[in-house]
Amino acid sequence: MTAPVRIAQLSCGPEYSGVQQEINEAAKAVNGEIFFPDIALKDIMQNFNEFGLDVRSPDLKLTIARAKALVDGRVDADAVFIATCFRCAEAAIVRNELRRYIHTSSKLPVVSYSFTERTTAGTLLTRMEALTTIARRRALLARETQQGITLGVDSGSSTTKAVVMKDNKIVGTGWQPTTEVLKSAHDVIEHAIKEAGIKRKEVEAVGTTGYGRFLVGKEINADLIQEELTVNSKGAVYLADKQHGPATVIDIGGMDNKAITVQDGIPGTFTMGGICAGASGRFLEMTAKRLGVDITELGPLAMKGFSEQVPMNSYCIVFGTQSLVNALAAGSTREDVAAAACHSVAEQVFEQQLQEIDIKEPVIMVGGTSLIEGLVHAMGGLLQTKILVPKYSQYIGAVGSSLLASGFIKDK
């Protein structure tokens, strides 16, 4: 067994919130080891004063001092996990500034999270996995071309996707809504293999990602089982041909959203989450259903409307749907309602998640929702930039898995 990835925890409040055990368990599940940077009491005030952020909570002063010790190289770590109480404004400022400070002043991968007493190890698992993956698999993530014949499967919360790649080209795809996780995976794999015109036994390596990655990975004997944060960002820069330099990847998923800053194809900082389904692809599905159009028609419809004409805030999917119904009842056009729904989702992702990372151009949107033209347009308007949507963007996880899995061919 490989040595655990040493994750330095910088935090305020997890013990008194009763969630320290959950953090430890999430790290342990991905062969990570949480530790608290050892720091002398006398150094706390000195480091804190040097940093210059004048907070009042002693635990936040300790957190700042520990961050400085990591950046200065006085404490060794492989990765950093920053966690503070949800709803604490003082802690939110520290969390954001420390994440930025560590990201720009060191090579340590860093992730931050604001917890409540309800936070569980399961919620933290994907983030911890991404953190350990970046620390442990830098060489694998540096891969820029696909070789041989590989299969990638993305078992997502809403849809399951598969891609067959051969000699750096996508030769087969499969897509369907996720119903029974394993059956959906088998169906899309069969479709992708058939489209590729190959036999299953010709596949040299297999990768899985998404919510069902462990179950599907075990079933199909995958060489690589990896969370979607690193896989999707890798797939995004590969498909957009932006493997060198900075980039930002936005993936508005069916159940949660991801925003990732990437440098040379390797994720730096990322956020994952969504306060409510109102800020996810699920709300757009519901909007399409209420408007009586297929989800594929929602984007073009939204492009014909004006979002400002309809007041809508889908902070909650229930109230968002209520706004939608009210707007239609008050005589709003379907086009305007579609545009408002797209704008509302984009605005929430912008307000809740994109504020937590430093946006670097190019901005690449991926995942099924990137095909909704109105959503991409709304996001571009909010970010004041032209957003790239690469071909096959809806297969992003499967492409990233397939690309990275080819790194395992030589091992066979």
Binding site: P14, Y16, S17, D59
Partner: protein
Amino acid sequence: MAKVFIYPTTSLILSDLVARYGHTPLSSAIAIRERIQTAGIESIPLQITPEEPKKGLRWAAVEVPSGVRGRMALYGPMIDTCDAAIIINDADLAFGCMGCARTNELVKYLIRQKNVPRLDLNYPKNEKEGIQFVAAIKRFLETLGGKK
């Protein structure tokens, strides 16, 4: 003999002073060690579970961060039962320290709202203030009864 709530609750010195004058200190006093290898500056050897932040709802609303409510599950009952309190403001970290400034504000407010004898002092900055500081605590504890 009085139950005396002390702030910062981790102050061993305050806890010891209160006990020496025959009173019961209400505190979570533990040593602040020279080196800190735990999650927080006043990490305590108690098993805090997600239930504690819920118990803390008695003193702080649900919109208050969970770390504050978890702490209030410990300090709230002490504040409810205390007969007197000593509050030291702006104490040095080594004197005794509570990690969350928001909890500190709430704890001090609740103590000040409670109609019990209270000593509100600033942490001494030099030897002269130090002598006056200890003398003030001594006088306060003596007025509460207990042994001299």
